[in-house]
Symmetry: C2
Subunit: 591 residues, 2 copies
């Protein structure tokens, strides 16, 4: 696949000197990812594409004057391609596509390969179309992959949508859709499940890209996963995995997200491969504050170099390798006919661009956008997707008989991880309802289907971390039902009412009153604020979760989002019951 | 683009060990072009694709047993991907696609990127379709690019066909057509000529590959050529050209043909580029004897290593880099889901495969095909394309008045090159016809339109090299008209009659009788013989040209093929007159 200039003839005319370029970038040293040389160059740009590169690296000729309507003096800096994030969910940053662009362009990222998996689970095809429409006409490239596993595990709970072959095919036909997003259902793929095969065949027939998700796969399983047509993986956590995946022809998207830091394991393991053309870099899930303070793909580059890649390797991974991974032949390098997505940095090992050019236009300087992206409105942004009846207080209790009950409690393994296991505990029964018996480490958890399905389930969690009050969210992977953790149903009700009213987000309540709120009204996942505003709000919300609810964990905001994620071991909740993750089945609350 | 297995599910099943593979290759060391490691491995193959690779390069696991219907013991040899020839004309080897497959498969070449430019100039769309049909179902991959310049220069002579946008679009829609073949008309491209732009836009809209042809282009011209959308070049003859083209994002197809040996200039110039992912290897034009005795892509690999590339670089250029150049994502490496085009060699620097596997089947051992390719017949092979009226003897003379005439003679610069210039000479006139005046270095040249157009032209050449007799051919780039060099019209007539009768080829006559013949009845360009038979016939013909006609030049067979090629400087013939190549116009014979 190629990116198409509006008018090829104009590029040729400009290179020949028959018409002036739109823009010339002068006084830079080009680090050429194609040859790993660095030399003085001038670059002429027309209609968002590079028309010509004037340079004489060998002192044997090659320089010619570039006439241009505008000139940019690069101050002797290093010119490199804009960065490509090979895998991310924009929703993880809780930003709209436009606000995401404003956040990452100043960091040098000019292309995103996005998986709108989260909005898809809430809003289905229409939500993916929203992400496509809202990323149209932005001063950056946002490619979209079709979420492949909506819902993640159909039997274990209800999401807001279900994608089969029809939904996938409809979305695959969009010109900015590259293929299928992370194929998480590797058990289904390894078993040749009809559902996965139908989706993958539809993608393969269109020549689409198939992005993988293969944590810890090895040996036969890894071979079979690669043979299935999946071409990449971003869930690589060990050196051995990285080496084996590259050897088996997969692209490894080395990840540094807010939660998962994989460079330390991967980079040392692969840095000595003399061909390293299938490693790229991704952010997966980044909080807005992390983008603003630590960078975007740039942070992965810096970390990759700290962990052992050469700066040349890291920059090439973040540009040319990623473009090849998704099969775009004129992206990721600075050369005639290539997209004019460029940045000027002073240090390849710690890239902080002094200037960023996207689609041929200067869009950011010294970490700041030059102009805000025009605000457009979309009907999907106005729609309240929290569709549920406010339950009675009684519905948030667990009826039980006798004086005590043997209860299957979901117990966190620690305060800084998301893994859990079941623990059978004897809890008192009071007035016909289960009681937490004054144990402050025990809380009720309610999962309310918020997609209009009406289902709900109430269970018990140990070691969640809150000391008091209720904490609820509509961000709850992957089905994004409403999850609330509480000891008193009245607090839970305050949270549920507030979430329904504002269209979703994260809410904390104490003594029946809301004390903290992070509103995410777009699909219950995305804020209307820009990254700066949202980062401030998040910071305030984290403080409240710590001070008012006593939630002293590394990231109190994220503590709740995996309580209902049925692919993380071993014990989770859903809107239809307790999930035994390893057995992949619903198990009873009481025995 | 991806190559599609018949049944993905079966690959997965085989990798998982649920069904046996068709074939397992055991006891080999895999040189992995993806990482440049070499390690012991077993490879399982299903339906022509690699299903799994069992290996434990780090001693940390990864081996598993591969069950298979058949096993092949590689004897401890090095397993590498089959070679890809990134640019060639099968017609240059005068072989049918099937005979070409039989010739190159034993040399380890499993994929050809072909330009059927020669047959297209004779037979048009139907001839390209012949090459597509005749390469269907072969035990090798022959991809086709649509000839972009038919005829080469429309104003300077008549070919058998003319390709505009319609012809090109019809052919581009074939599933085995990858794009446009060498875009030779670089002056047209640099000038944004309507003809070239229309063809290139049609290709770009389909996402097709555009193969270049850019001898000596530099600076602005080279930038403009790259900006036009052209992605490669195989006409690189100097180190500077190679470096500049790679820097500007073009793929360089390093060529070692029978005539053009470019590795000595290119390899030393680029070997130190630390990223060298856009260099590939090609043969362009190889005589059958050269294939049989010196190898095919294997010969380019060996030469590349002699000239300075590391063996790892050379093998990667001949496999993975070429696959990426044409945009096929599962070709050119040994990994699950990749095409099972493989070979076993003992030395990466001088690859001579002991076994070649194409599309998963063992097809050659120790330089020999295991089974001949089934012979199929095609109506196009039976058609006599030498469509002309036998001229009178008088028509092969040049009428002139008076006793002498000032004649524009085409003079060869030397006996071993194809460049020429005009020389104004005074020649005697006898009985109303121009005479060569007994000068044995002068010969008549007749160019007869053999495509039914009826045009013809007679001129004079100096230093062609024959001492006596007549030598004629229907292989005459690029229009492939009938060209005959002679002193006596009676000899020329014998040649013309024989060529018409046999459907084309190369014929020598002395004293009115045919003394040597190389029949090429398919489009007047291709033999019915296989490579062995044809090489013997060519060898005999060369001997006759030397002994009977006294043509003592390095390659007497090729001496005649560029006499009418209007893109080689400076003076050439066509069926409508004398061509001033630099001025690109027809000039008068006499002043």
């Amino acid at each position: 696949m190629q990116l198409h200039p509006r008018d090829r003839a104009r590029l040729v005319d400009a290179a020949m000197g028959r018409v002036p370029c739109d823009l010339a970038i002068r006084n830079v040293r080009l680090f050429n990812v194609l040859t790993w040389e660095t030399y003085e160059a001038e670059v002429g740009i027309v209609d968002g594409f590079v028309a010509c590169v004037s340079a004489d690296p060998d002192g044997t000729g090659g320089r010619f004057p570039i006439e241009a309507a505008e000139s940019f003096d690069g101050g002797g800096g290093l010119l490199i391609p804009g960065f490509i994030d090979s895998h991310l969910h924009i929703e993880s940053s809780m930003l709209t596509p436009a606000h995401m662009a404003e956040a990452v362009l100043p960091q040098g990222t000019t292309t995103l390969i996005t998986d709108p998996h989260e909005v898809a689970n809430v809003g289905g095809v229409e939500a993916v179309e929203y992400m496509l429409e809202a990323s149209e006409g932005l001063p950056m490239r946002q490619f979209v992959l079709v979420p492949s596993c909506v819902p993640a595990v159909p039997e274990l709970g209800n999401a807001g949508a279900s994608f089969g072959r029809d939904e996938v095919e409809r979305l695959l036909d969009h010109p900015r859709v590259l293929g299928l997003a992370e194929l998480m259902d590797y058990p289904g793929i390894l078993a040749n499940s009809a559902r996965m095969r139908a989706i993958m065949d539809a993608c393969e027939r269109r020549g689409g890209f198939m992005q993988g998700h293969a944590p810890f796969l090895a040996d036969r399983d890894l071979n079979a996963y690669a043979a299935s047509g999946v071409r990449s993986d971003h869930e690589t956590r060990t050196g051995r995995e990285a080496r084996d995946k590259l050897r088996l022809g997969m692209h490894v998207d080395m990840r540094e997200s807010s939660m998962s830091l994989n460079a330390a394991a991967i980079a040392p393991a692969v840095k000595d491969f003399r061909n390293l053309s299938t490693l790229s870099l991704c952010t997966d899930d980044l909080e807005p504050e992390d983008i603003l303070t630590t960078g975007h793909v740039s942070r992965v580059v810096a970390r990759a170099v700290e962990c052992g890649l050469s700066p040349e390797q890291a920059i090439t991974c973040a540009t040319l390798n990623a473009a090849r991974e998704i099969g775009i032949t004129n992206l990721g390098a600075v050369a005639p006919g290539f997209a004019a997505d460029l940045q000027i940095v002073s240090d390849l090992a710690r890239p902080r661009p002094s200037a960023v050019f996207a689609m041929g236009r200067l869009v950011a300087r010294d970490g700041r956008m030059l102009a805000a992206v025009p605000r457009r409105s979309f009907p999907q942004e106005e729609r309240n997707t929290v569709r549920l009846e406010i339950p009675s207080e009684e519905a948030l209790r667990i009826p039980a008989e006798g004086t005590s009950a043997r209860v299957r409690v979901v117990k966190y393994d620690s305060l800084n991880g998301s893994t859990t296991s079941f623990s059978m505990e004897d809890l008192p029964v009071e007035d016909g309802y289960l009681s937490l018996g004054g144990d402050r480490d025990l809380k009720f958890v309610a999962v309310l289907n918020r997609h209009g399905g009406g289902t709900r389930f109430v269970g018990v969690v140990r070691n969640f971390g809150t000391a008091r009050g209720a904490y609820g969210a509509t961000v709850s992977h992957d089905s994004h039902n409403l999850v609330v953790v509480y000891d008193r149903p009245s607090d839970a009700l305050a949270v549920i009412r507030a979430l329904k009213e504002c269209g979703g987000g994260k809410i904390a309540a104490v003594d029946g009153a809301v004390v903290g709120r992070l509103e995410l009204p777009i699909y219950g996942l995305i804020s209307r604020l820009d990254a700066d505003g949202l980062a401030r709000e998040i910071s305030g919300m984290k403080k409240i979760l710590r001070s008012a609810l006593g939630l002293e964990v590394p990231n109190p905001l994220m503590r709740i989002v995996s309580l209902a994620l049925p692919v993380i071991p071993k014990a989770k909740f859903s809107d239809i019951g307790l999930v035994d993750v390893l057995a992949q089945k619903i198990v009873p609350l009481m025995e």
